[in-house]
């Protein structure tokens, strides 16, 4: 196999010295991590390598020599470097050399032991692959080839292919801690040799985060203990809590905050990303909520809103009344059964009248309620949207009731019709065998059955029309609520930190690598530049998507249509923990 030498771009202009790195025999590749400059004591170099091995569990060695000939170079340097091969024995021994000011490199890899098979070359062909050390150190491959487990054994068995290069650089962080201003025994050149990179703000934030996390974790545990108290599990309250979506949202947010402020450190990069995503999502939510609050307070909009609410509810109720009057007459030219029509129409009109009186009873308190709801927006825009969705559900409760009455009536009618139709044909439903069997009925059974069947058939259009109208209204309300839930879901689950990272620091999230062939001359070794191929945006969202509490509707369009046809009640979304109908 061609020998691949991975060389960091920062060392391309370094002075002559020793190459230090890791040799991966399965892929015949040498990953160079740093260059050790003269003068050095071989014993100290070996000590340094042993230290790094202990810290990161990666076996480093001296791989060869690096020769960067300056002006007025000494020829003796070349012989001196060759002599070093005897002190640090390594198979194969790399010798990289670069002419000053030019792009001509030369590489040699020699094996001291003569290989057992005949006809094999004594010198291997070498291919140089340049890589940006800082980017490879900070980047994270997706999918993770093998998790770099610090407690597990050596890096020898963990990663395959190019992931081994990333793994090696990541584990050798201890090597990059010293820079050339340090007074250490050994002088190294690597990406931090001009000075260790750090930021004062990041350090201060790290110091301050410890006590702050502990304090907030205590507060949050108090709040969750209070909410889990037995008082809230009593029957009417537990029903109300489970139906309101704002409670679900608050619970979800509490869980997320507990996750962020927990005092446990994140074990792997995925967990760290999740924490960061949750934090950014919560911050954005609160910022949007405060913006909404300031907009509401700005021109004192709450008063006019409250005053407009009751007339709007009245208007809706009036429109419903007109609709019912229309149904009681001859809607769309259809002829209804007079008596049933009047009964149903009057029943719904009375219900509507009760509802209007209820709204008028509530009207003095509307402004106070709206003020408190607006205040809750400072907990986040999602909370405000959930409250809005709950208010819509409460205000359209009469539409929900009408839908349930219409659906139950229609369902009963359909059941009766199907069973009497079987009787009409002389069959019956066998409950034991779960199939339709033939049955001989008595004459009077047949007579009454047929009579009832005829009655139900002729009353079907009336009931079906009422059912259709109220189902459409209910679906409209469900659509509006569903839209709001979709928006809440979007804010809850979008991984904004990961998307921002992909935008600003694309090398952190790597899908793979890409190579570019650099200037090539015949007779010289092939030089490639290895760059990081960032993850596409779609995959970033898919990988780091936050889990949200709402579940998507479990039925497909086909089953929805079936339920509508047979008059079964539809519940468009189910919260976690709801029992099946």
């Amino acid at each position: 196999m061609v020998l691949k030498a991975f060389f960091p771009t920062c060392c391309a202009s370094a002075d002559s010295g020793l190459l230090v790195g890791r040799w991966v025999p399965e892929q015949s590749s040498a990953v160079v991590l740093a260059v050790v400059h003269f003068p050095f004591i071989p014993l100290q170099v070996k000590e340094l390598l042993a230290q790094v091995h202990q810290a990161g569990r990666v076996g480093l060695a001296v791989l060869g020599t690096w020769c960067h000939r300056r002006q007025g170079a000494e020829e003796s340097l070349g012989h001196f470097l060759e002599g070093l091969g005897t002190i640090f024995s390594h198979e194969p021994w790399l010798q990289l050399c670069r002419e000053p000011g030019s792009k001509l490199w030369s590489c040699k890899a020699t094996r001291r032991q003569v290989p057992p098979r005949r006809g094999a070359p004594y010198e291997d062909q070498v291919m140089l692959v340049f890589y940006d050390q800082r980017k490879v150190l900070l980047s994270q491959l997706h999918p993770p080839a093998a998790l770099p487990d610090r407690q597990a054994g050596d890096a020898a068995h963990s990663a395959r292919g190019l992931a081994a290069v990333f793994d090696t650089v990541a584990r050798s962080e201890a090597l990059f801690r010293s820079d050339r201003f340090d007074d250490g025994p050994v002088r190294l050149s690597h990406w931090q040799s001009e000075g260790v990179e750090a930021s004062i703000l990041a350090e201060l934030a790290k110091r301050a985060s410890g006590p702050a996390c502990v304090l907030l974790a205590c507060l949050l545990s108090l709040v969750s203990a209070a909410s889990a108290c037995r008082l809230f599990k009593l029957w009417p309250l537990s029903l109300v809590w489970s139906k309101l979506s704002v409670c679900e949202q608050l619970r979800h947010r509490l869980e997320q905050l507990t996750l962020i402020f927990s005092t446990q450190k994140a074990e792997n990069p995925t967990q760290l990303m999740r924490k960061a995503n949750v934090l950014v999502s919560v911050l954005l939510d609160v910022a949007l909520g405060l913006a909404l609050l300031s907009w509401l307070r700005g021109k004192d909009r709450i008063g006019p809103l409250a005053e407009a609410l009751v007339p709007v509810a009245d208007h809706v109720a009036e429109e419903l009344q007109h609709l019912l009057q229309w149904l009681m007459g001859a809607p769309a030219g259809l002829k209804m059964n007079r008596a049933l029509d009047q009964v149903l129409g009057r029943f719904f009109l009375y219900h509507l009248h009760l509802w209007i009186s209820y709204i008028h009873l509530m009207s003095p308190f509307i402004e106070r309620i709206l003020w408190h709801v607006g205040l809750s927006a400072c907990l986040g825009l999602t909370v405000a949207l959930s409250i809005l969705s709950d208010i819509i559900a409460l205000l359209t409760f009469h539409i929900y009731c009408f839908y349930v009455y219409g659906a139950r009536l229609y369902c009963l009618k359909i059941c009766g019709l199907s069973s009497l139709w079987r009787l009409f044909r002389g069959k019956k439903w066998n409950v034991l065998r779960q199939r339709v069997d033939s049955c001989s009925y008595d004459l009077d059974q047949l007579f009454i059955g047929t009579l009832l069947f005829t009655i139900l058939v002729f009353l079907l259009p009336t009931t079906a029309l009422y059912y259709l109208v109220f189902t459409l209204l209910r679906l409209l309300v469900v659509a509006v609520q569903g839209l709001m839930h979709l928006l809440v879901d979007l804010i809850n689950s979008l991984p904004l930190y990961s998307l921002g990272l992909r935008l600003c620091r694309p090398y952190r999230l790597a899908a793979g690598v890409k190579f570019r062939v650099l200037e090539h001359e015949a007779g010289r070794p092939l030089r490639l530049l290895m760059q990081i191929n960032p993850l596409p945006y779609g995959r970033v969202v898919h990988t780091y998507r936050l889990p949200s509490y709402g579940c998507h509707p479990t039925h497909s369009w086909g089953s929805l249509c079936r339920k509508l046809f047979f008059g079964e009640l539809i519940y468009p979304w189910r919260q976690r923990g709801d029992k099946q109908d």
Partner: protein, 188 residues
């Protein structure tokens, strides 16, 4: 070493294949697709604007005209950035892997790199495409679970769609490198 030859694709359009032999272990094939033709661009723009003028005479709302201009511009930018591929490149490096790059008309490049350890073979397959039977070059990936199985088939030069003569050239060069790689990796 570099040379260029012209071939044709399955619809009869002209393609240019550029071969670069960097070293015995590294070869690159660059296939340039036919450019965006002025005729089709003019035809689409005229059609969109005629429709917009028709709607304008019906509705008397000048927003329709501005919307049409907007749509045309955005559509063209989107087409150039996401759809129109100018060049497709295949870089094969012995003992590293195979890299496929597509460059779009707006300059965007999208790259995929497959490591040599995952590549089982490079073959020419037949496929039924609409009413034609065409040949395409594809890379077979190894299945980690089953040693003789294939986990994925990755087609190459999907938007250029060259004919068999061009594919044979690329196939021969790839097989030389793969054979060399298998010979050297088999021996310890």
């Amino acid at each position: 070493m570099e040379d260029e030859r012209s071939f044709s694709d399955i619809c009869g359009g002209r393609l240019a294949l550029q071969r670069r032999y960097y070293s015995p272990s590294c070869r690159e094939f660059c296939l340039s697709c036919p450019r965006l033709s002025l005729r089709s661009l003019t035809a689409v723009t005229c059609a969109v604007w005629l429709a917009a003028y028709g709607l304008f005479t019906l509705c008397e709302n000048s927003m329709i005209l501005s919307a049409a201009i907007f749509i045309t511009l955005l559509g063209l930018l989107g087409y150039l950035h996401f759809v129109k591929i100018d060049q497709e490149t295949l870089l094969i490096i012995d003992s590293l892997g195979i890299q496929m790059t597509s460059s779009y008309a707006s300059g965007k490049e999208s790259t995929t790199f497959i490591e040599m350890g995952k590549v089982k073979d490079v073959v020419i397959n037949e496929a039924i495409y609409m009413q034609k039977v065409i040949y395409y070059l594809c890379i077979l990936l190894e299945d980690p679970v089953e040693p003789h199985g294939i986990s994925q088939v990755v087609p190459v030069f999907q938007s250029a769609k060259p004919r068999l003569d061009c594919l044979i050239e690329v196939y021969r060069s790839c097989q030389e490198i793969l054979a060399h790689q298998k010979a050297t990796s088999a021996s310890p």
